[in-house]
Symmetry: C2
Subunit: 178 residues, 2 copies
């Protein structure tokens, strides 16, 4: 944490009302915040359950599963940069993930002849087989977890969250300082 003095000075000059800021999410003013907190906690809940089961049943991690899912649907493999975009994982992170998956024999790394900057990752047969098993289980877990939710609600949620995603995408700050 850096640059505190400047920030504190700002806070001082404003005298933000500390009582109201976090609390009053009930009153309609903070619908977005309230929704976000609920989305976040729900996502964490599901993620942790999925992670726990992937680990217990397959000894795999969620990021590994995600990465393999992308490779699974592109039989010819993907460049690491592509993988990074699709999994929303940083480049540096993909390097390590692929490294470990390769060590486990799930993934193969190849440098194509045309361009030696590039590394293409590809599932091995072993990786494909394991992922197939995991994917089927994974789908079942989700169906179970959401079993009490009306299918119509699920469809509605899918649509509406799509709207949220679009809105968010259109309001991202590239990189800006104040």
């Amino acid at each position: 944490m850096q640059d505190l003095s400047r920030i504190m000075a700002e806070a001082d000059s404003e005298t933000v009302d500390l009582e109201i800021i976090v609390q009053g999410a009930q009153e309609g003013k903070k619908q977005e915040l309230r929704l976000w907190l609920r989305m976040l906690s729900t996502t964490k809940l599901v993620s942790q359950e999925v992670r726990r089961r992937l680990r217990a049943e397959f000894g795999a991690t969620l990021p590994q599963f995600d990465l393999m899912a992308q490779l699974y649907r592109e039989g010819d493999g993907l460049r690491l940069g592509e993988l990074s975009k699709r999994t929303m994982v940083t480049n540096g992170n993909v390097t390590g993930l692929v490294e470990r998956l390769e060590a486990d024999g799930m993934v193969l790394r190849v440098t194509p002849d045309g361009d030696r900057r590039v590394t293409v990752a590809k599932l091995t047969p072993k990786g494909e087989k394991l992922f197939g098993t995991m994917a089927a289980a994974h789908e079942g877990w989700l169906r179970d977890m959401m079993a009490d939710v009306d299918p119509a609600v699920i469809a509605e949620l899918w649509k509406d969250i799509g709207e949220v995603k679009t809105s968010v995408s259109n309001h991202l700050s590239g990189v800006d300082f104040d």
Copy 2:
């Protein structure tokens, strides 16, 4: 990754049938998976934006912000175990988070007289002030990001995701091996 041979054997003996037998299964079967993938990617998108801004504007991290939010609404402080539950962060992780926040002067650690097993974390005045500023900004970011979504949809989403969360909560596997 461990225990592969057993898992592979299972996969072999099952030969999962990718063709779907039940009627209407193409559309209905994977609704939950589809919803989950969309929830996950949307949450990642928002998280990354929030993280980027917290860092750029306040030099703080998202987990730190989360933790401070919990302490903010409990002026008397919270035991680390409580913090762990509320932030959905493991115990060991809370230790480190609080350590760093204490080093930054945002948080105070106290061992109450009654029970020396316990550590209570509490925001310092400096921490309170900074959090107040961050919380106000944070709320604004979310309002901006979701600006294109109809308020009625936001309210609906909040309600429906609540249903999802309840369902998931009721279908968690404590700890089970197969």
